[in-house]
Symmetry: C2
Subunit: 252 residues, 2 copies
């Protein structure tokens, strides 16, 4: 899509007309050395609260940049309440997962350790950096929240009431995904993906007994964990999420 | 999923009981040096025609290996007739796309040059190698066919009768994907994804006029080309493809 403002940046600061915003060193470097922008150039800003703003670069130094919001391009609008609960993956695959999940509209990235999880630590900062970059590129108005990694059993014990957990059941005993998702409408949803080695039988048995779990099958082929995550998120958005409407034409 | 035979290998050779098959140097090296297997060990073989076979390693040298099919584990069964027509992407993204498309059940990988395609050549051998590895891991009984790269206009001019082309229209003017796919049932399908810079207006206008094209929208966010491809394939399998049934329990 031809974009009106190629450069979209996320900031934690409040956005209001004429109130200058300071951007940190990394963003200043990106604007100056990568994009070769200078004072007077325009960018778009968003913070997850105040919508998207057209802003003008007023100063651009080595350690920071200052931008002034000129006018709101889009108001903040509600985004899907869709969590991704996932066992961390190795190497590039977890970067890719954070990027794709953000593009597919996930609101919360919730890494969990399962019994067969091989990866022993999660770099939450890196997850967030990937999510921010994907939010900037996908024209989202928010960035997913990255939760600190916890044990799966802890996350399940604290599970919020009224939120459905869609479990990608790699044994194939779940219901076909379209059928399962069309069934019950709930206020919040989450997709759960196991580690590269799959869930243990004990984990799957436990999950199936939980009242908030819907076990789904993603067809006859064996999917990698990251493929299953992306496929389940796309299916959810298609059948129950915000892909049921077309894209709003917000560029008047 | 716990797999009965961890090692699945694709071969071009015919598979029949007791008829020895020679595997080339790369596969011999993989079996010997990576998996540390030796004569007497079992692997599974498939060739896209004769189903999946349990086979025993009879010899394992530096330049080749010999395996003898013992019995058929699964008969060959029909697989989805789903093409992916895509503008090639840079670097790791095209490897990832070939892997994911194979897991998601694509039968033909058809790279095309569009007006805004930046990548100027396609390594078809590498595409095929990624597809083979993904087929081995996903327990498919076939490997997607990799077509030589052609111009999009050439592919469209030769388009086979009765095959629907699902175009991911990044302007958002396509119909919501679930609605568009539920509509008409055809014998063969294809998904078309543009390059990183999107289709030109001329290309989109031309595509929309073709009788076999269904333009779909994949929601309100801007998706990268690879994300759009995977999302569209997952949606297709969910709504019109082989994810409508659960996984057959073929391990009796």
């Amino acid at each position: 899509m031809a974009r009106l403002y190629q450069t979209r940046l996320h900031t934690g600061e409040s956005l209001a007309e004429g109130v200058a915003v300071t951007l940190p060193k990394t963003q200043a470097h990106y604007l100056r050395s990568v994009l070769r922008l200078g004072p007077g150039d325009k960018v778009a800003l968003f913070n997850g609260r105040d919508g998207e703003w057209l802003a003008e670069l007023s100063s651009l130094g080595k350690s920071e940049a200052t931008v002034v919001p000129l006018r709101q391009l889009r108001p903040q609008s509600p985004e899907p309440d869709l969590w991704l609960v996932f066992a961390p993956l190795k190497h590039a695959r977890i970067d890719y997962l954070a990027e794709k999940a953000t593009e597919l509209g996930v609101s919360v990235l919730c890494p969990v350790f399962t019994q067969r999880t091989i990866v022993s630590r999660v770099n939450e900062e890196r997850l967030l950096a990937n999510a921010i970059e994907a939010a900037e590129q996908s024209e989202r108005l928010s960035v997913p929240i990255v939760q600190p990694v916890r044990k799966l059993e802890t996350v399940l014990a604290d599970w919020p009431e009224g939120r459905r957990l869609i479990v990608c059941d790699e044994t194939g005993s779940g219901r076909p995904v379209a059928e399962a998702l069309a069934d019950n409408v709930v206020s919040g949803n989450a997709v759960l993906i196991g580690p590269e080695g799959g869930f243990t039988e004990t984990e799957l048995d436990g999950l199936r007994k939980l009242p908030f779990v819907t076990a789904v099958s993603l067809g006859p082929r064996v999917l990698r964990a990251d493929t299953a995550a992306l496929a389940a998120l796309a299916c959810f958005q298609t059948i129950s999420g915000d892909w049921r409407q077309g894209r709003p034409d917000y560029r008047g």
